[in-house]
Symmetry: C2
């Protein structure tokens, strides 16, 4: 039987967060936030991670275990692993391979994608293509980020420039996982389309995240920066373009979309983006208010909320914009 | 027309090295090497990189430009980019996207794989699958590593433990690129098979490479380590397994292989591996003596040497072992 990418099914998802959320009052006390930040910071992030108490491997293992359990799949049945993260635990080994070891997965191809907000969508898309190409029958897709290393706990925060501060308060930690299969299991979501398009030509990066090696760890270049005005300007526009391209490719009308998983910036930014996406009939599925911006965990956190609400024929569109070098990413699911 | 992964063609390769090689005498003077290291260090590496004078983006741009020129392909014709590296310039943006910008490539899917010695092979394999799945017609595949950040130029090297020292003297910098296409261009190499298999279950990592964020950059954990005894023991065995699996999958006899691209460890280790691979009729294509171990640039450096020597019907097998978490990687080409 020929299985096209559009036939590939999402069997189940699982997620993991590092601990209880931290509310805005705690954040404000820690950071001495000005009202300027209010539109950016309307969620909860895990301040506790200033002390590193878990790794991305830890969180991805838990998320992966939960997704496998929810799908009723054993480690031995996993034929492929694809992970997306901007913040792997080490450069080598790749985190996906440490997670594989923890889960008892072996003898299969694994891939780890280095990417910001688009990484989970890229991982989903690659797994879907590889399953359609019969590289494997079942794939475990992982995504997550751990921002603790970029959080200068011992630094005088009043001296951190605004372009860095926003990262410290908005970004949370987390991991997510999904089990995808070639099998045409009724009552599961078919992954009709996945989009991953670089649109960065001649555009300066909207977001940067540095790592340091031994040779340059005394460098005083900023560990992270965010061109928040460029992001504020571009992300809503790009989100609309992603939606229209996905719908156009599939021949779907806007009114046929029942569930919308928008980019998770701040609460206020997300609200504005949802307005511009203009899908009044679709249920918005957001999580930033409870989880913060967990980078590559977000699509899984949103899927975990959306899937139980979907019934046969329902259509979900997920949208992710990576402002680092301006990547348009998204996916479209249809419940069978 | 149906194009299978085994039909995908390698049109051309290009490479880039950071500068003139540094010979063993210079290395010995710099590191005060004992004879123990002789078997590990039999090549040339770029000592100059203690001063960072180029980035991975720089090298990958040059390699990419050369590969495109050699293939006679313009930036506008590239429909997909896949890059493999253990040492991206930043965590965000992914280096592949900065290279795309430099080359004028836009509006296409890009992927960057976080991987050690297997990364270039993984990138080759993914591009091949995606081309066969008609995601694009032509792909630019990139691989490279820049080890400068892990080279503690200001550190007292006599106090660096042996497991770290080996990294400093063996690893060089470099990048490579290949243009792959769905088109059945006569006189080009068909990528008959690509292998990427994790075999790390219950095995401690053979190699680790750390990055530091702001929060932990004062950490005194080793930036890189190598379990050289485990590597010495396992890599030759794994190389033989990779060869036999590739040949078995393709139904190729050992004597039909005309060109062997073995793993590039030290000169002496490579020699031992080649002996165990036992392909007396095949021409060995190695470069470690001239280039050092350039990580994910190596397969391209070897291909650049091998392809001009191959004629119709010739078969090449490339083997890469990633000792980080024990990944078996390899590829098989057939000249058409």
């Amino acid at each position: 039987m020929i299985v096209t990418p559009a036939d590939v099914r999402l069997l189940a998802v699982g997620t993991a967060l590092p601990g209880p959320p931290v509310d805005n009052a705690a954040l404000a006390a820690r950071f001495g936030m000005s009202p300027t930040w209010a539109q950016w910071v309307e969620g909860f992030v895990d301040l506790e991670t200033s002390e590193v108490h878990c790794s991305l491997t830890d969180l991805a293992e838990i998320a992966g275990r939960r997704a496998l359990a929810a799908a009723g799949i054993t480690a031995a049945e996993v034929g492929l692993m694809v992970m997306g993260s901007a913040t792997p635990d080490q450069l080598m080994p790749a985190t996906v391979n440490l997670v594989a070891d923890r889960l008892g997965i072996n003898g299969v191809p694994t891939y780890q994608l280095q990417s910001g907000c688009a990484g989970a969508v890229q991982a989903l898309g690659l797994a879907r293509e590889l399953l359609a190409g019969d590289v494997a029958g079942t794939a475990l897709v992982l995504g997550g980020d751990l921002c603790a290393k970029h959080f200068p706990a011992k630094v005088d925060l009043s001296r951190v420039p605004p372009t860095q501060l926003v990262n410290l308060v908005l970004f949370g930690d987390g991991a997510g996982a999904a089990v995808l299969t070639r099998e045409q299991v009724p009552g599961t979501a078919a992954v009709r389309r996945v989009m991953n398009t670089l649109t960065g030509l001649n555009r300066p990066p909207g977001q940067t995240l540095e790592w340091f090696g031994v040779a340059d760890r005394d460098s005083d270049r900023p560990p992270a920066s965010e061109e928040y005005k460029a992001i504020e300007e571009s992300v809503p526009v790009m989100a609309v373009e992603i939606l229209h391209e996905l719908l156009g490719d599939l021949g779907w009308s806007g009114s046929s979309v029942t569930h919308l998983l928008p980019p998770q910036l701040s609460g206020r930014m997300t609200e504005r983006i949802v307005q511009q996406l203009d899908l009044p009939d679709a249920t918005e599925v957001s999580c930033v208010a409870e989880t913060g911006n967990n980078g590559n965990a977000l699509p899984f956190l949103q899927l975990e909320r959306a899937l139980p609400k979907m019934s046969a024929g329902d259509r979900a569109v997920g949208i992710a914009v990576e402002s680092s070098k301006w990547i348009k990413a998204g996916f479209a699911l249809e419940m069978t």
